[in-house]
């Protein structure tokens, strides 16, 4: 993936919005933006809400940037915000139903719809399985299994003791196991 440019800010490194010692929000966008976007879906934000949730993540990052204390990694700090925003969106969306909106706009896309199809199938299966987990288990599972964070950073992101994170991961794996069973039985009886 090529780096995303910021045309209006291309030559303003010296004027970058930095608080002493705090990271640059544009660097956070560049380094973590794509991961945050995908993770929001894995954490259960509806497809139609992901753009808004993504924006909210960066509004919170912007607001809290000066308070980033380097007590953990920047990644765990950013992902922790992402998790909390995602779960707020899930709760907010709980009472409304997602409906089909417009036809997917046509863009110059190097992937064929068949490739999209495989991705989409995997995504649908994964979301269906993760939807069966509660927030805590889902967050641990997504951060560790999908995003590849070490458990120490998972615990930092979720602001819980490391042992708690381990316990949640164990419980999440058991829940995923059971959810896979249910998914397969539903599929087989279709």
């Amino acid at each position: 993936m090529r780096a995303v440019s910021f045309p209006s800010l291309a030559s303003t490194d010296a004027a970058a919005p930095e608080v002493s010692g705090a990271p640059d929000i544009r660097a956070i966008f560049r380094d973590y933006g794509a991961f945050i976007y995908t993770m929001l879906r894995s954490l259960g934000v509806r497809a139609s809400d992901v753009d808004d949730a993504f924006q909210e993540v960066f509004v919170v990052i912007h607001r809290k940037l000066a308070t980033y204390g380097r007590r953990g990694t920047l990644r765990s700090w950013v992902y922790g915000i992402c998790v909390r925003v995602a779960f707020r969106f899930r709760r907010r969306a709980g009472a409304t139903r997602e409906i089909a909106t417009d036809e997917v706009p046509e863009t110059a896309d190097p992937m064929t719809p068949a490739e999209h199809l495989r991705e989409r199938q995997a995504r649908e299966i994964l979301c269906a399985i993760l939807d069966e987990l509660d927030d805590d288990k889902r967050a641990v599972f997504v951060l560790f299994e999908l995003e590849g964070l070490p458990m120490q950073e998972v615990a930092e992101s979720l602001q819980c003791p490391l042992q708690t994170a381990y316990s949640r991961l164990r419980a999440a794996r058991e829940a995923v196991d059971a959810a896979v069973d249910r998914h397969r039985s539903r599929r087989d009886f279709k």
Partner: protein, 233 residues
């Protein structure tokens, strides 16, 4: 040394078919990231935010109370020492210590910090999404039953298996049930190839022309043209 368990995607000796299934599903997702165009779009949407100085660190409200308490305590002790037990060899607390030491703001509870009203972020400058959200949140009548993925996948499977009749029937079924499905392009590509294999070249060409007019930049255009140029197998 890390005590982390092995991730499902890294497992070599899979303990069960369920673990294998889950590993495959996760692996299929690991490479999925938003396109560069999408990231450009998000960057431009966030541009007002990037151009604004981040909010300065603000002490939590309880820090003010704590500062007042410390100041009061120091003042009382100072007065007591001055009037009762002042000794020249005892270090005095300078008056400057009456102000509370600045506590690192990263000790603020993160949740409370997130709940504070945004002080310096020009959120109003960000693009409004209310209209789209309102439309998405409308209490809707149930969407028509459309097994978009299942139908197109089945049609593609039939085509690959050498059953163009079945593939075409499934494409028609998709057309009937999912007229605005996300996989319309794929369905049309399958239908055109199926028609070619059935020897219905004129119909295939007509459908291909319609396809190209509707989706001129589709990645399937080249493949369809190639299929039309070569004799059906």
């Amino acid at each position: 040394m890390s005590r982390d368990p092995i991730r499902l995607v890294d497992l070599r000796d899979l303990p069960s078919s369920k673990a294998e299934f889950m590993r495959d599903v996760i692996r299929a997702q690991l490479t999925v990231r938003p396109s560069d165009e999408k990231m450009e779009e998000l960057a431009s949407r966030l541009a007002p935010l990037f151009e604004t100085a981040p909010a300065p660190a603000r002490p939590a409200p309880w820090l003010g109370v704590a500062a007042a308490a410390v100041a009061s305590a120091v003042l009382v002790v100072g007065i007591y020492w001055t009037t009762h037990e002042a000794k020249p060899d005892r270090p005095r607390h300078p008056s400057s210590t009456a102000s509370a030491p600045a506590q690192p703001v990263d000790r603020m509870p993160p949740h409370s910090a997130e709940l504070e009203p945004p002080p310096a972020v020009p959120v109003d400058a960000l693009p409004s999404v209310q209209a789209r959200r309102a439309r998405a949140a409308m209490p809707a009548s149930p969407p028509p039953r459309c097994d978009d993925v299942t139908l197109v996948d089945a049609a593609d499977t039939e085509l690959r298996a050498g059953n163009p009749d079945a593939a075409l029937a499934l494409a028609r079924e998709h057309e009937r049930r999912c007229p605005a499905g996300a996989l319309v392009q794929e369905r049309e590509r399958i239908a055109i190839e199926a028609l070619l294999r059935l020897g219905r070249v004129d119909q295939a060409r007509a459908r291909a022309r319609a396809f190209e007019a509707r989706f001129p930049s589709s990645p399937h255009v080249g493949r369809i043209r190639e299929a039309l140029d070569r004799p059906p197998r």
